[in-house]
């Protein structure tokens, strides 16, 4: 080949390496002397590359324009819907006005006003619009139109990809046009306007391949404000991904998890569960056309989960829920039922907020944390541990941790005075004192330091205000009655003592019942004055009158005569308002009793291992239970179903979780474990967290 003329023809020579060498016609080479084969080759290659580049540019442009078209079409539809809505409104208002006039006229003149047709306006025009519901905004969606709408949604979604923010903006804009926003209008309005909105949005979303995505896309409208947070959370929480969330989550597994997630039968839970799925799906859509929901199952088990897969199946079996709301259908994620299920939910807004996500890890104890108590008003809690100390924590003072979304908290103050493991703890109603009981048989009274102190301040001996001496053996249970400023304690010496710490002689009275064994837990009966309930390690449970010291009611816990450790009651709590007592048993059950009759109202297998602790939220709606199976479960007290499970804490010897607690006024829960950690969770937008987990799964 002559390479001396290879430089001719084009100024640019593309290197021939790497690219496709298309078939070059070398027929010209021999005829024209000024062209050489390499030159021609180069030229053709160059042109080809140029064409390819242009083609890709065209494609991009075309895609953009298509997107724009779809967007504008959607907008147009939206406007049309808005217009039709407004027209509807106008008609209704006109009709109402006519009626008023007629009434007025009748009243004034005694005759009927001739106004012509006084029929209520017919909204025929709306029906013809295939995507929308036939009725006025205040009626619920009909299934057929909804299905049609979904089909269309899917179709549109298939065409283009659509970012979340645009949807947010749009839905917000439409809502503001309609005069609807989340706070101002009632829930129904919102729900029913979303179908209208759907028409708009539909063109803007591409349908996912599975049914869930389409439904989830709809759910997104149920909580638009949530979406705004997503982007922010995503970047922060990208590191949060748990290691065991793998990419190959099978759909079956996911269904299981959805089953778990949806097991809470409460109406409000459905929306939140779907909300979760919704968020996840949206993220998959935006990132990946294939929506394998990798992490939805994992994330609802909340941030604590180290083995998030494990409890799901078990929980599913345990609960065996069949929802009248079509929840079971939703759990199976079939096509037909999801939409109805979604729209059967009346109140969806607050629902998702009830999911807890792991937020704080309190590390500082050297041995298992046996008890914890929240401050009544501040986000402050105190933990008591087997390392003989109590520690004061302020949840607002967190240590920036680089790795996880879970925030580490460091203690502000360490209470040292016990000479043995501290076993129980209670906080006064004012938050100024707390009481701790330990293996050394002493109950120490502490004045709480301010939550803003410097952790390394000088020692203030006045923090320990005194100790209550009375028990001769370990003190296992403490409970305080805030109004009466009285303290109940029970110990391994078999005594239950009533104290009034302010008095000169604090010990007011003692109760003992040797036949029942050792008292393990005490609580004041909250809806009655002057009563308290004591639980024993023989699984008996008795309500006493405080004045007389005599048993009032004996709760029917077990028929067995012998004192057996198997059914020992580990904790007893009374409901704040109802005459209900709840007991946590060593045999994995939680039992509910009526205080008046003593009869057992309900009994359920709550965990896979002994249930160790109970807490009722201040409103009396939820029950939190902790168990040695390393899980905490949140129960709805109305229908006694589990709405959430959190896996937390590791085992030391055979023990795992010792205590759980609700904050009396703020949305916090906490758990104390044998692994020397206390964990606290707050309520926050759960969706952000879920989204993040999903995205990590995809990235992997």
């Amino acid at each position: 080949m002559e390479d001396n003329s290879s430089q001719n023809h084009n100024g640019q020579l593309d290197p021939s390496g790497g690219g496709n060498v298309s078939n070059k016609q070398n027929d010209d080479g021999s005829q024209r002397t000024q062209y050489s084969i390499p030159g021609i080759l180069h030229f053709i290659q160059h042109e080809w590359a140029k064409f390819e580049l242009e083609r890709s540019q065209w494609e991009v442009e075309r895609a953009e324009l298509q997107a724009r078209i779809a967007f504008l079409q959607g907008e147009r539809k939206g406007q049309e819907n808005v217009k039709s809505d407004l027209v509807r409104r106008i008609k209704m208002l006109e009709y109402a006005l006519k009626q008023e006039r007629a009434k007025f006229h009748k009243l004034k003149y005694g005759t009927e006003l001739q106004q012509g047709d006084m029929k209520p306006p017919v909204f025929d025009d709306v029906v013809t619009d295939a995507k929308l519901e036939a009725d006025a905004p205040f009626t619920s969606v009909s299934n057929i139109s909804w299905r049609q709408g979904r089909q269309l949604l899917r179709q549109y979604l298939q065409e283009i990809g659509y970012a979340d923010t645009i949807l947010d903006v749009r839905s917000n804009r439409v809502r503001s046009l309609l005069g609807l926003n989340n706070n101002a209008e009632c829930e129904e309005n919102l729900n029913n306007s979303s179908p209208a909105v759907n028409g708009n949005e539909s063109s803007n979303k591409r349908a996912s391949e599975t049914q869930e995505a389409a439904v989830m896309a709809n759910f997104e409208f149920l909580s638009p404000d949530v979406d705004m947070d997503d982007d922010d959370d995503m970047s922060d929480d990208l590191d949060d991904q748990q290691d065991d969330e793998t990419d190959d989550v099978k759909t079956a597994k996911r269904k299981n998890k959805c089953l778990m997630m949806n097991e809470g039968l409460a109406d409000d839970v459905d929306a939140e569960a779907e909300e979760v799925l919704n968020e996840l799906n949206l993220l998959t859509e935006s990132e990946d056309a294939q929506n394998e929901l990798r992490a939805p199952g994992g994330s609802p088990s909340m941030g604590f989960a180290t083995s998030s897969r494990r409890p799901m199946g078990a929980l599913g079996d345990d609960e065996g829920l069949d929802s009248s709301l079509g929840l079971g259908e939703l759990a199976q994620l079939t096509v037909n039922n999801e939409a109805e299920a979604a729209y059967d939910i009346a109140s969806s807004k607050e629902a998702y907020r009830k999911m807890w996500n792991a937020k704080y890890t309190l590390r500082s104890h050297f041995d298992g944390v046996r008890a914890l108590a929240f401050h009544p008003t501040e986000p402050v809690l105190i933990t008591a541990s087997e390392d003989h100390t109590l520690k004061l924590w302020n949840l607002q003072k967190t240590v920036p941790a680089k790795k996880s979304a879970s925030l580490d908290v460091e203690p502000l103050y360490t209470f040292r005075s016990h000479t043995g493991p501290v076993l129980c703890l209670t906080m006064s109603g004012t938050g100024e004192q707390c009481y701790s009981g330990g293996l050394d048989g002493l109950i120490q009274c502490w004045n709480l330091p301010s939550p803003n102190i410097d952790p390394y301040d000088s020692f203030d001996p006045s923090v320990l205000t005194g100790s209550l001496v009375g028990h001769t053996d370990a003190v296992w249970g403490l409970s305080i009655h805030n109004q009466r400023m009285q303290l109940l304690s029970c110990g391994a010496d078999g005594l239950v003592c009533l104290w009034s710490p302010q008095n000169k002689v604090p010990l007011l009275s003692t109760f003992s019942s040797p036949d029942d064994g050792q008292p393990t837990s005490v609580d004041f009966v909250h809806n009655e004055t002057n009563q308290m309930v004591t639980a024993y390690n023989s699984s008996h449970c008795v309500i006493y009158d405080l004045e007389t010291g005599k048993p009032v009611t004996r709760l029917e816990t077990s028929q067995a005569e012998n004192i057996s450790q198997d059914k020992q009651i580990n904790r007893v709590v009374t409901h704040p308002t109802l005459p209900l007592t709840v007991t946590a048993h060593e045999d994995r059950h939680i039992r509910f009793f009526d205080n008046v009759s003593g009869k057992m109202v309900h009994s359920m297998v709550a965990h896979l291992d002994a249930v160790t602790s109970l807490a009722i939220d201040p409103n009396g709606l939820y029950l939190l239970s902790g168990s040695h199976d390393c899980s905490i479960r949140l129960w709805n007290l109305d229908n006694k179903t589990c709405v959430q499970e959190i896996t937390a804490h590791r085992k030391k010897f055979d023990e795992s979780i010792y205590d759980v607690a609700f904050h009396p006024s703020k949305p916090y829960i906490a758990s104390a474990g044998a692994d020397a950690l206390a964990k606290a969770a707050g309520k926050a937008c759960c969706s952000g967290l879920f989204k993040v987990k999903l995205s990590r799964g995809i990235v992997k």
């Binding site: 050297f366 293996l439 390690n537 590791r650 055979d654």
Partner: protein, 293 residues
């Protein structure tokens, strides 16, 4: 209270357990323990079994990671040291012990603050223990309890050093408390052995100017060399890389060489002649320097 329901034995302290029955379950061999906290379980079990048997408590099981072993022991020490702190709280008032000292020569500054501060003794104790808790539990240095980063192992040494000073302060200034605590828990003895085994002995022990192991191992090491009669004594200045220069009385006796602290005439060191290998004139023989090996 253990529960033996036939086959499984649950090692649990259920509510209602008496203090005497706390953690009273049969020992579990190390190999059979399955949990992430095996090392802590094992150590606590050994201590419960026999707190005086220091060697056995400090002996790691086979194939146990050394870093984790040290870490868990240090946690256990800080845990148990709380008992000493509680006792000191009663007696060690800031007015009495305004500084953290052991002997008169050294004042220890509290490192828990941004700039080291001269805290009263009780504050030093509390801050040190709290700081140790913070460090040993920090997610940054010790994120896991089953594996320790090599860079974090170095931190253990500094914790040891500071913690040791608590012992030395208690020994010198609150002797009664120290003795009572030591007789029940044997903690100082165990800690000293631990520190020597672990290898941060020099820094730890010397900087605390305190050798409690000598003090309490039967006290035999502090009595003079047997049958020694001091023949001639010299007031000398001892040069130490750690502690600078300080005065000692150097006494050559019939059976060995002894050094005394001139302020209180306590024996600080003694070497019987049997320990000597040789004596050579030092480089400046004119000035009378002799090297003893």
């Amino acid at each position: 209270m253990k529960m033996a329901d036939g086959v499984t034995m649950l090692r649990r302290n259920r509510p209602g357990t008496k203090a005497a029955d706390f953690c009273r379950w049969p020992d579990q061999p190390f190999e059979e323990m399955e949990s992430t906290l095996v090392v802590q379980q094992y150590i606590q079990q050994q201590i419960c079994h026999d707190p005086m048997n220091v060697t056995q408590i400090l002996t790691p099981p086979e194939s146990q990671d050394e870093g984790v072993w040290k870490y868990e022991h240090l946690r256990q020490f800080c845990l148990e040291l709380n008992g000493l702190a509680v006792r000191l709280q009663a007696e060690c008032h800031p007015e009495a012990c305004t500084q953290m000292t052991a002997t008169e020569q050294w004042i220890f500054l509290c490192a828990a603050h941004k700039t080291p501060k001269e805290c009263p003794a009780i504050d030093y104790t509390r801050h040190t223990l709290d700081g140790a808790a913070c460090l040993l539990n920090s997610n940054k240095y010790f994120p896991s309890r089953v594996s320790i980063k090599d860079s974090s192992v170095a931190k253990l040494g500094s914790v040891c050093r500071r913690v040791y000073r608590i012992f030395s302060h208690a020994y010198f200034h609150h002797r009664a408390i120290f003795d009572e605590f030591e007789n029940t828990t044997y903690l100082c003895r165990r800690f000293t052995s631990f520190v020597i085994k672990v290898g941060c002995a020099d820094f730890t022990l010397n900087s605390s100017c305190f050798r409690p192991d000598r003090a309490i191992h039967g006290g035999s090491e502090m009595i003079p060399v047997k049958d020694n009669e001091d023949e001639s004594c010299f007031l000398v200045t001892k040069h130490s890389p750690w502690r600078g220069k300080y005065k000692r009385i150097f006494s050559i006796g019939t059976a060995g060489v002894t050094t005394y602290n001139p302020t209180n005439m306590e024996i600080t060191n003694r070497w019987p002649y049997s320990d000597f290998m040789g004596a050579l004139p030092g480089p400046n023989a004119n000035h009378g320097q002799v090297s003893l090996a």
